[in-house]
């Protein structure tokens, strides 16, 4: 263990308290099993999600900045956000506060009005759960801890579109060896391979999951997800590994809907990467919340003697 990111602030975000609860549970259990300390931000608020950002992007910057201010006040220089949407929004706030004077003005004004300390860019680094495990433990560290190898499990790693987009808010990516790539992200591939999984070449790893259309145009979402699922199966995957609660829930829901509405059944399973890593470390399926998933992977896990 490098020591870097061994003790970080934790921003679960709203989704991890609802539909993404299994991700919350498995992230915490994985951290515990790896000896990494997570301290949840006290009295955190919504990151501004999509809804606020669409109406008032500067208000979204303020909302995310308040969370960063809380992390700073709690004495942390790093906050880990496992949700792609939250991760993206905290990064965007950091970028806006560093580069956009009107965003700083709005954030300062609203912080004064709300009666808390404002946040200045550069004080707290936002990382994703993938950065957290990759940097704090690394592939060698994981390999040394694996008790229940994922050997033989064929995995399509699905990152979704927000983990790498837009590129300018992720200055740490695309820095060559050891850094994440925005064109071909690989951190999840690296970690799961270290746990023994066989990653398949998956050409849609950053493609749209249709999350945006889920409520307004469900058929479009279902067709996009169905294409993600059938492509994963064509690539030979047993499992799609996810790292975003919105993508994960969309894949699960629309897998069911694709069968009901379009009569297209797919059998690829959907699991959070934290669940797969947790089981590789010897944690039970229940401990990492597999029973909370909509996608029933129990047969596959039993066959592979996982969990």
């Amino acid at each position: 263990m490098s020591g870097k990111y061994a003790n970080v602030a934790y921003y679960p975000g709203c989704a991890l308290e609802g539909t993404g609860h299994a991700y919350n549970r498995s992230t915490k259990e994985l951290g515990k099993a790896l000896g990494l300390k997570l301290t949840e931000l006290a009295n955190w608020n919504c990151c501004g999600a999509m809804e606020v950002k669409n109406i008032d992007p500067k208000l979204q910057t303020y909302l995310s900045a308040r969370n960063l201010a809380i992390a700073e006040e709690m004495g942390f220089d790093t906050v880990m956000a496992p949700c792609n949407g939250c991760y993206h929004n905290l990064k965007k706030a950091e970028y806006d506060l560093a580069n956009d004077a009107p965003s700083r003005e709005v954030t300062d004004r609203l912080a004064r009005k709300a009666g808390h300390k404002t946040y200045a860019a550069g004080k707290v680094e936002t990382i994703h759960a993938l950065d957290w495990i990759k940097q704090a433990i690394g592939e060698d560290g994981l390999k040394a801890r694996v008790k229940n190898s994922l050997k033989g499990l064929r995995v399509a790693n699905y990152y979704g579109c927000m983990y790498t987009r837009p590129r300018h808010i992720f200055p740490e990516k695309d820095r060559g060896q050891g850094s994440e790539s925005t064109a071909k992200p690989h951190f999840m591939d690296d970690l799961l391979a270290a746990a023994g999984a066989e990653n398949v070449e998956y050409p849609l790893k950053t493609a749209c999951c249709g999350g945006a259309h889920t409520l307004s145009d469900s058929d479009t979402s279902t067709k996009l997800v169905l294409n993600l699922l059938t492509t994963a199966e064509a690539c030979g995957a047993d499992v799609i590994a996810t790292e975003c609660p919105t993508c994960h829930t969309g894949l699960e829901m629309h897998q069911v809907r694709a069968e009901k509405v379009f009569g297209r059944k797919t059998s690829v399973k959907i699991l959070y990467f934290t669940q797969l890593l947790g089981m590789a470390l010897g944690l039970s399926a229940r401990k990492v919340g597999v029973h909370e998933n909509l996608s029933d992977a129990s047969d596959l896990l039993r066959a592979r003697r996982l969990g």
């Binding site: 999509m50 950002k53 669409n54 109406i55 992007p57 579109c161 790498t164 987009r165 837009p166 064109a183 071909k184 050409p203 849609l204 790893k205 950053t206 493609a207 749209c208 249709g210 999350g211 945006a212 259309h213 409520l215 307004s216 145009d217 479009t220 979402s221 067709k223 996009l224 294409n227 993600l228 059938t230 492509t231 064509a234 690539c235």
Partner: protein, 156 residues
Amino acid sequence: MTGASVRSLDDIAARLDAMMVAPDDVLVAGSSALADELLALGEAILEIWLAARGTTPTMRTVEGFRLLGLHRAGAKGDPSFNACRETCRELVYHRNLVRLDPANADTVRRLRLGAMVAKHLSLFVGGKLETAGLGEFCCSSRPLRQHETHAQPGTA
């Protein structure tokens, strides 16, 4: 190719579906031409997006590919369109894999995966067209809300 004027997204999707289920020998026999067709279908999809926004589809290339030039033009003023950036690049990649080594044992699989990638692009653009005119982020429902806000009492 000026696909936008002659093909609809439904036509393109049907052609891609046909490619996915084509017999192996058909894919092998026409591998190079099919790889180029995949790229052309991708261009036609983006032409439809640009034409719908009132923009003349560019003939400029980026990194040697018009598809990437069309993508860049399509994302201008609509950052959420970048959600299909890597999908476009994957399409170019799969086309190149086949074109550079058409006799490769993996050619059939590469063509089918290329068709699946192009299908995703088609579905993505179809979804974007449904919600054309939305805010700067892809899951905005601003027009729906504006419609509700502007609707007169009793007319909704």
